[in-house]
């Protein structure tokens, strides 16, 4: 059993509803299910006109932040409504969407793969086999537009972030850190360990209905492809 959900003010225009404590190193899957269930409940309420003033909400590993216009609703009333919805304890398991993402694990595209293999006491081939055998779950999008935090990395591949982040990680880099995986949608600074490269476009503002490829609850597998597949795309 988990403690009941708690609601916090994030300034005067947002509430954060917390389903799991801030310090947990590994957020249990049922917390994720409650986050997804709460989001589904919000979507239904909003569609029914029951969330006046609410602009958007942001699911994370263990909480949902609801952003609202405080001049277009009664914040205390919204807080009551959010707490009532959270107390329902609704759960949703996943989005039902599965993705297979091509990843090239060759040479220059996997600058940290050998170091990960050495640190984990595994061969390079075994590391790739474990990565491609994993079914990841998208926990949240953040850090950069479309950047997916993927849970499910085997404990055998657990590694801390780099002590010194790289100033530039190329877009498409496939990376691991802690018990998580990720794919960088954009060139950016980054401290995750780079184990491959994918040609998939994770974020495209021109796809107006769904600019980000992934959504929380999606299942993701990495499929090894050769250099030629990367070059062809």
């Amino acid at each position: 059993m988990h403690p009941p959900p708690r609601l916090f003010a994030l300034g005067d225009a947002a509430f954060t509803v917390e389903f799991g404590p801030p310090q947990a190193r590994d957020v249990p899957p049922d917390i994720q299910a409650r986050v997804l269930g709460f989001g589904a409940g919000l979507a239904e309420l909003q569609a029914a006109g029951g969330l006046p003033g609410v602009i958007e909400w942001v699911p994370t590993f263990r909480s949902v932040t609801v952003h609202f216009d405080p001049d277009r609703c009664l914040p205390w009333h919204l807080a009551d409504r959010l707490q009532a919805l959270a107390a329902e304890g609704r759960q949703a398991t996943d989005s039902g969407r599965k993705w297979t993402i091509p990843v090239c694990f060759d040479g220059e595209f996997a600058p940290d793969l050998d170091a990960v293999a050495v640190a984990c006491g595994l061969s390079r081939e075994v590391v790739i086999a474990q990565l491609t055998a994993t079914e990841f779950t998208v926990r949240m999008l953040g850090f950069l537009p479309g950047f997916p935090y993927l849970s499910g990395l085997p404990a055998s591949l657990e590694m801390p972030r780099l002590a010194t982040p790289r100033p530039r990680v190329p877009a498409g880099s496939v990376a691991i850190a802690g018990r998580m995986g990720a794919i960088y949608p954009w060139d950016s600074p980054g401290g995750w360990r780079l184990v491959g490269r994918s040609p998939v476009t994770l974020f495209d503002a021109a796809r107006a209905d769904r600019p980000a490829m992934f959504a929380p609850g999606d299942r993701v597998r990495w499929q090894a492809v050769g250099l030629e597949a990367l070059a062809a795309s």
Binding site: A14, E18, I55, V58, R62, A205
Partner: protein, 339 residues
């Protein structure tokens, strides 16, 4: 005939901003929008635009703009002057907090703001919106690289001007938390006593403050990332707060000791390195009263705008025309700054 402004010189720290990109934070897209939405609304209001119509935000040095084939009406807000250059090359100082009409071929050289300044055009800038907003967010390609800014041809006439619109003084008002229980009692005391000095590390994502170290309690300085918003004050392990601004990420992994109320966010836009600030805790009712007071000040200010005086000071115009590099500064005009 195309209406618009050609960017003859882009200035520095200039971006297109409106009232923000709402509805995409769940996929990691920052809110963005004007750092000071009140000043943007002031510039827009002088032209009869909606408060959040897209304009140019100037952080360091203003651009040189030239009207294309149609007249364009422009308004300036902020402590920021400009020079209006006719086709013949004659120049006239334009104070901030006023509108002007730029005839085809005429240019406007906007100076450097103290804090942040805004350039609005009648009807708003008409660059194509991306994800429902015209705000620039270069990090994710949400930017149009343009040499001309489309807008509509001037319809209104009768230029207007007003006195400077200031912001309130006093401590920055915050609502405590959401993770104020991650700090020692001393740290909370220090936080609400201050003062904190603004450091040089600042951009549209946030600014770092320096002050008394804010020690975390046994709950520690790392949290599992949760939602953040502009105004949230994160405190990493070094105990020095980071104040998040419009382009901040959507989630963050540091405890947030407090969050600045919406009515005080515009004040943060103008903080300069070395400035000292203090924080004061308020509740939701006081935050609501502050929002109402700010909205009232803006509407009172807009209602008090008066017709601009025609012509201006000819001696000044001659002086400025002779100083195209912008060395001439009119001492009696607090809005005009050297380029």
């Amino acid at each position: 005939m195309s209406a618009g402004l050609e960017i003859r010189s882009p200035g520095l720290g200039v971006s297109i901003q409106d009232d923000g990109r709402h509805g995409h934070r769940h996929i990691g897209v920052p809110l963005s929008g004007a750092l000071d939405p009140v000043f943007l609304a002031a510039a827009n209001g002088l032209l009869g635009n909606p408060a959040g119509a897209a304009g140019l935000e100037v952080l360091l040095a203003g651009p040189l703009l030239q009207a294309l084939d149609a007249p364009v009406r422009i308004a300036l807000a902020g402590t920021m002057g400009a020079r209006h250059l006719t086709v013949a090359g004659a120049g006239r100082a334009v104070p901030a907090w006023s509108t002007l009409r730029l005839q085809p071929g005429e240019q406007l050289q906007v100076g450097s703001p103290c804090g942040v300044g805004y350039i609005a055009v009648e009807g708003g800038l008409l660059t194509p919106p991306m994800l429902g907003s015209r705000s620039t967010y270069a990090r994710a390609g949400l930017i149009h690289v343009v040499t001309t800014l489309p807008c509509r041809a001037a319809r209104g006439f009768g230029e207007r001007q007003n006195v400077a619109l200031g912001h309130e003084d006093g401590p920055i008002r915050v609502i405590p938390g959401p993770q104020d229980d991650h700090f020692t009692a001393d740290a909370l005391d220090h936080f609400y006593t201050g003062p904190f000095r603004v450091t040089r590390q600042r951009d549209r994502m946030g600014l770092r403050l320096a002050g008394p170290a804010l020690a975390h309690n046994q709950r520690g300085a790392d949290i599992v990332s949760d939602g953040v918003t502009p105004g949230a004050i994160q405190v990493p392990a070094d105990g020095q707060p980071i104040l998040l601004l419009a382009d901040c990420q959507t989630v963050g992994g540091y405890p947030k000791i407090a969050t600045v109320i919406r009515a005080d966010l515009p004040r943060l836009a103008h903080l300069q390195p070395g400035d000292e600030i203090r924080f004061r805790a308020v509740d939701a009712d006081e935050a609501a009263a502050a929002r109402a007071a700010l909205a009232r000040r803006l509407s009172d200010w807009l209602a008090s705008a008066r017709p601009a005086q025609a012509g201006g000071d000819p001696d000044t115009a001659v002086l400025l025309a002779a100083n195209l590099a912008g060395a001439a500064v009119r001492g009696d005009d607090p809005h005009l700054w050297p380029d």
